[in-house]
Every structure is written in C-alpha cells, then in structure tokens.
C-alpha cells in the first residue's frame, strides 16, 4: 500500500490546522511566527503533492517563491520584533494592541 496524494493532503491539512490554532492561541510573537512557518510548510507540501499528481513542475517553482517570500517575511518580522522587544522587553502580541487608534 503506497500513500496516495490524498494522504499527503490530509497531512498538510492537519499541519495547517495546527499552525493556525497555534497562531491564534500563542502569545509569544516568536512562536506565532513559527506557526506561520508551519502553515506555509503545509501549503508547500500541498503544492509539491499536486505537482506530482498533476505532472506539473510549476508547483515546485511556486514553492520556491513561497520560500523566498517566507524568508523575506521572517527577516522583516524579526526586525520589527527586535525593535519592539528592545523597547518593551517581554512584550507579547497582545501588548501590541496598545498601538490601536
């Protein structure tokens, strides 16, 4: 019995859901970032699965772009975190609600 595409997609769905719940539940901004990465990886996994299932190399290329964008996002996000946490050590994502208008 070999795993079909559906298996991979189910796994990706589970991974995505864990990431999404983690994003909503955790307060540490760093961990929230990691949860975003989990969600992105879930999506990447579906892309690769479909690339194989549909015989389309484009799916893999898109994964590459997702990775690049994820890298850029992490760089900027962490830079923002650094500058926030430097001013308010131990701040959580909820504390940033102070910025609301």
């Amino acid at each position: 019995m070999t795993p079909t595409t559906t298996w991979y997609l189910v796994l990706a769905a589970a991974l995505f859901t864990i990431g999404a719940v983690g994003l909503m539940v955790r307060r540490n901004p760093l961990v929230m970032f990691m949860c975003v990465e989990l969600m992105l990886n879930a999506v990447n996994l579906t892309f690769v699965s479909f690339a194989r299932a549909l015989d389309d190399i484009g799916g893999q290329v898109v994964v590459l772009f997702v990775m690049v964008v994820a890298a850029a996002e992490v760089v900027i996000g962490l830079a923002i975190l650094v500058s926030v946490l430097r001013n308010r050590p131990g701040a959580t994502a909820d504390d940033i609600a102070m910025l609301k208008g």
Partner: protein, 812 residues
Amino acid sequence: MLELVWLIPALPLLGFLVILVLGRRLGDPAAGYVGALAVAGSFAAAVIVFIGLVDRPGDDRFFVQSLFEWVPVGNFSVDVGFLVDPLAMTMVLFITGIAALIHLYAVGYMKGDPKFSKFFLYLNLFVFSMLLLVLGDNLLMTFVGWEGVGLCSYLLISFWFTDPANASAGKKAFVTNRIGDFGFMLAMFLAVATVGSIRYPDLLTAAPGLAPVTATALALLLFVGAVGKSAQIPLYVWLPDAMAGPTPVSALIHAATMVTAGVYLLIRTSPLLAASYHWAPQTIAWVGALTALFAATIAIAQNDIKKVLAYSTISQLGYLFLAVGVGGYSAAIFHMLTHAFFKALLFLGAGSVIHGMHHEQDMRRYGGLMKLLPLTAGTFIIGWLAISGVPPFSGFWSKDEILAHAYDSNKLLWLVGLVAAILTAFYMSREVFMTFFGRYRYADPTPEEIDDAWVSRAVATEAQVVDARAAVETARTEVGANEEKVAKAEAALAKAQADVDAATTASAAVSAADLETARAAVDAATDKNEKKAADKALKELEKPAKDLDKATTALAKAEAALVSARQATEAAAGAVAEAEGSVDEAEARAGAARADVAANTPTPTLVDLRNPPVVPAGIEPNLSHDVTHRREFHPHESPWQMVVPLLVLAAGALVAGFLNLPFNHSLHFLGNWLHPSMLGNEVELHSSGITQVLLALVAVAGGLLGIAISVQVYLRGVGNRAAIEQPAFAHGWWVDETYAKVVGGPGRRFFELCAWFDRHVVDGAVNGVARLVRMAAGGLRTFQTGYVRTYALGVAIGAVALLGLLLSKASF
C-alpha cells in the same frame, strides 16, 4: 525628416527641466542662454521638419505622428500625437523663431533681476505649451497647450507679484481666459457626442457631413474659446492689463504667439466654419471688425507706451478675425505672420526704451529719444511703417489682403476695417512722435511735481513763521532776564548809597583834633604796650575815613553796573521788536505762498509736448529730488542681446510682406503653401485687379492720412490734443468699470446664490454622506480590538466560511 517633429516641443521641455533643476546654480545670465538655446534648437528642428514637408508633393503635406495612446476609453481614444501640415509648420516656424529672439532679448532685459532663472523657466514652459497647442493632432492636445499658455501667461504677467497691481492683472487674465475655455470645453464635448472623435483628421473629414446646426454650434463654441484667448470683444479686457508683466513677456505672449492661438484654432477647424450657417462666419467677421475699430479708438488716447501697443494688438487681432470670418484664411495667417514680426519688434523696441529710460513708461515724458537711442528708434520706425500699412513694409501687404477680402464680402466691413487702419496709422505715429521726436522731456518737472513744489514752498514758509515766532520768544526771555539784572543793580546801588551816607556821618564825627592827638600819642609812646594801645586808638579814629573811601568806590561800581544792565535791556527790547518784525514778514511770505498754491493749482495736466513747462523762479529750489535725478540721467542704448533681436525683427518686418505678393498667382508663396491646409474652404478673391489696386491705394491714402494728422498734432503742435484724446478713449469706454459694476452688483447676488446652493445642497449631500460613514465607522471600530490573535481568529472564521461555501457549491 518629418519624424523629428517630436523634437520641436521636446527641446523647450528639456530646457524647462534643465532650468527647473539647475536654474539657481546656472544663474544670470547662463540660465537665460540655456533657455534661448533650447528654443533656438527647437527652431532648427522646425526648419528641418519644414524642409521635409516641402520635399513632399503639395497634396501629400499632411503627416501625423502618434507617440502613444493617452486616453483610451472604450471606443473613444485620444493619442498624444503631432499633426504636421503647412498651417502648423508656418505657426511653428514663427513661434520658435520669434521666441528664440525674445529669449535672447530677455537675457539683456532681465539682467540683475533676482528671479532671473525663474523667468526663463516660465518662458520655456510657455513655448513648450504653445508648440503643443499648435502641433497637437486633436482638440484635447490643443486644449492642454491652451491651458498651458494660460498658466504661463498668469505666472509671467504677475511675475513681479510683490506689486498687488501686477498680481491682480495676472488673475484677471486667468479668469477672463477661463470664460473662453468654457466654450472650448463644450466644443470638445459636443465633438465627442456628435462626431465621436476629437482628432483633427477625423473632425475635418466629418465636418462637411455634419448637420449645419451641429457645425454652427461647434464653430461658435470654438469661437467663444478663441474670443477669450485672442482678446476680442467682450473678453479683451485682460490684455491691456497683461502689460504688467516684463516687456519680453508682453512681446512673446501678448503680441506674437499666445493671442494668435484663437485664430489658429478657427483656421484649423475651418471645415466646421464652412459647414455652418452663413451667419456664423459673418458674426465672427463683425466681432473682429468692431474689435479692430473699438481697440483702435482706445489706443489713440493712451499715454503708456505699452498700453498703446496692447490696444493695437487687440485691434490687429480683430483684423485676423475679420479675415477668418470672410473666409480669407491664408490672408489671416499672412497678417498673423507679419504682425508677429512687427508687433514683437514694436514691443521689444518699447522695452528697449523702457530699459533705457529707467523703467519710465509714460510717453509724455519721452520725446527726442531719436539721438539717444538710435538703434531702437530706427528699428521702431520700421515697425511703425509696417503696422501703418506703408508700402513696401510687410503690414501693407497683409492688411491689404484682408481689406480686399472684406470688400468682397461686405462693403461695410471693409469701411470699418479702413477706419481702423487710419486710426492705427494715427496712434502709431503719435507713439513714434511722442517717443522719438520733439523735445527731450524727461528732465521736465511734471505738472504734479510743479504743484508739489508750490505746496512744499508754502510748507517751507510756514516753517519760517514758526522759526520767527520762536526767535521772538527767545528775545523776550532775554529782556526779562535783563530787567531782573537791572532791578538787582538798582538794589545794589541803593545799598551802596546807604553805606556811603553812614560812612560820611561816621567820618564827620571824628574831629581832626582828636586825630592829631591820637597821632601824637602814638609818637609819644615809648613803652611797647603803650605804643600798641596808641596804634589801636589811632586806627579806631582813622577807620570811618577808610570806610567812606570804600563805600564811595562801591557806589561808583554799582552805578556802572546799573548803566550797563539798562543798556542790555534796551538792546534786548530792540531784538524783540526786530524778531516781531521778522514774524510779520514771514507770515506775509507764508500767506503769499498759500495764495500762490491756491492761485497756481491746478497746473494743466495736458502736458505741452513742444514747450517746456514754466517753472516759476521762486519754486525752483522746491522741486523734488526726482527731478534733479532725472536731469542728471542720460538715457542709454540697450546691450547687444537686446539690439540683435531688434535688428533681426526689423529685417523681418521689412521683408515678410514679400512672402505673399498679390501681383500674380505664382507670387502668392504663402497662400500656395498653405493651400492644402485650407481643404478648399478658402474664399478666393473675385474682385478685379483694378479694384484691388484701387483698394490698395485707398488703404495707403488712409494710412498716410493718419500719419499726416499725427504729424500736424504731435510734431507741429497744430490743433488741440485734448480734442483727440477724449476721456472716453483714455478710459477705454469705461468697459472695465462697467464690468466691475455688473459683476459686483447683480452678478454678485447671483454668485452668492450659487455659493449658497453649493454650501447647503451640494456640500450638504457630501457632508451627509460623510456623517453617515462616520457614524457607521463609529459602530464598527469597536471590532478593532488591536489583538492580532483576534484578527487571526477572524481570518480563520472567514476561511471556514469560504471552505463551507466551496463545499456547498462544489459538484461531486
């Protein structure tokens, strides 16, 4: 070579950008040369394109270059494209050529101005806009250029905006032009609605098939635009005020280029005019003819050298409209071309005079400048002869052609044109004679200054009275002081007399015998003590006599002091009398001076051009310092940057007429060249050759008549100037005042009604919407907690909803 056409507007744009970025660093005069070079390059490009166009066969001289699609809206689209044909090329050549000369001129004229580079920035932008206007291949491009020149005109008229008069002149030009632009915009909308395109090629092909109503409406709406831009009745009022700008601007914008845009537009769309009802072109012709006459009457009574030229421009533009109205399109272009030469020349000449005369613009204070500014005078005279229609100068040929067309169409139009031509010759001669001939009047005190001198003399004598009164006061104080001294001296004398009396009594009491005895006692005394006592007794006895001596001396002194004090008092009293006398005298003088002021004002304001004003000897020292400065001032010829353009333009004014000689068809160079652009709509002259010659002779005779009257009145001093310079003319028939009254009175109430409607109905709707949004937002903002995780939850719920939707819609 025609593909180079984009270069023509691109070079002034480049110049504009360079000056925009580097202007301040380039400074004076480099920025000016950059600007002049850009326009000169544009002229060179125009020449190349022109040669390319000439190379083509006559009926193929029509070239459209589309740069890019600009406004694509459904089936309707507007390109940024250039249309090159003989008409556009003629305009481009004279615009760039004359603009280049004026740029060069401005380098000399604006020297030392703190905003030097900004001036050339605006000038280049202006040339760019004008070229867009002329070269654009659709109405919208022309409109962009149209508004561009309007903007630059505004910026340049109010260039010296620190003077409120200049700033408001700029606003006036802008607002007046807006009224005309309204017509232009409506014409564009109508063209889109009826023809479906605003490209000239489409419009011109579609025009013959249009319903006469549509064609008339289009033509007249464009005419409304042209009336604003080309300063015709009733929207001409901005142009005379536009003289507030620096003179190169007046020459470039308000004589040679921008104001011709309206005429260009009408000629460009001539098929529309041809397809409209007969009365439409007739209206245009009448508006033109009446403007020509009306402005000419105003011009004869102006004293500002530039105002005369401004009204002259309006009048000449009236001729152009007259020509357009009677179908003489190439005649109109011909006159536009010659006018561009001689009017630019006249304006630049006037600028040279103003430059040489320390920014004095009142012709009454010029006179006799021929010797002082020979080059300016010589070129100006060429311009004068050209505009007056004296053969063989250029104006003669072009004006004659227009008059011949007018004669063909309607004799009355011709008559109005002829009268305007006579008036033109008259007022231009007046300007020349007042400026360059006759007596040098700059050093003369003006009537106002003489009046001021009388007043200042009266003021000075009043000051003398005050001084004399002060002197009397001083003298009286002196008298008082001396009288006190006399009193003291008298008291001292009385005391001294009393002392003398007392001493006399005392000395009488001492007898001579006692004295002897005392002396003997002194002699007899042997003992030391005795001798002392005896001495003492003797001194006792001698004392009264000594006291008497002393008192007598004091008495003599007191008497002397009294005498001198009395003398001083008398002298002071004398001084008082004298000072009082001088007060009377000063008062008499002041009274006389006041009487003089009353008797001598008003000095006649109509300046006697031939005889110097009488300056009564008494007030000579009271003349203001301005007069002294003017007496020491020597007018100077302008620098080469200004003289060279004058010479070139003078040559143009001299020979431009030969471009279109009427003698036979092949000499009609300009007409033949322009022929393809007229699309067969031009009216051919059908008068016989003899009639044309007779008309020309009448026109020349009219011009000479105007000059002759002017010679009599302004050179020989025969006749009454006041009778010619009517107040109605001098005030421009009070049109400005009437406009102000109408717009300020009933107009204002109407505008206030509009403003009320805008505030309460239009703004009310807008504000109501805004209030609604704000209330809704006030309710919705409570959802904005600021918690990122709550937002994420919101996104997740949205995703769930989407998935649910997808699942329910999906077919399995």
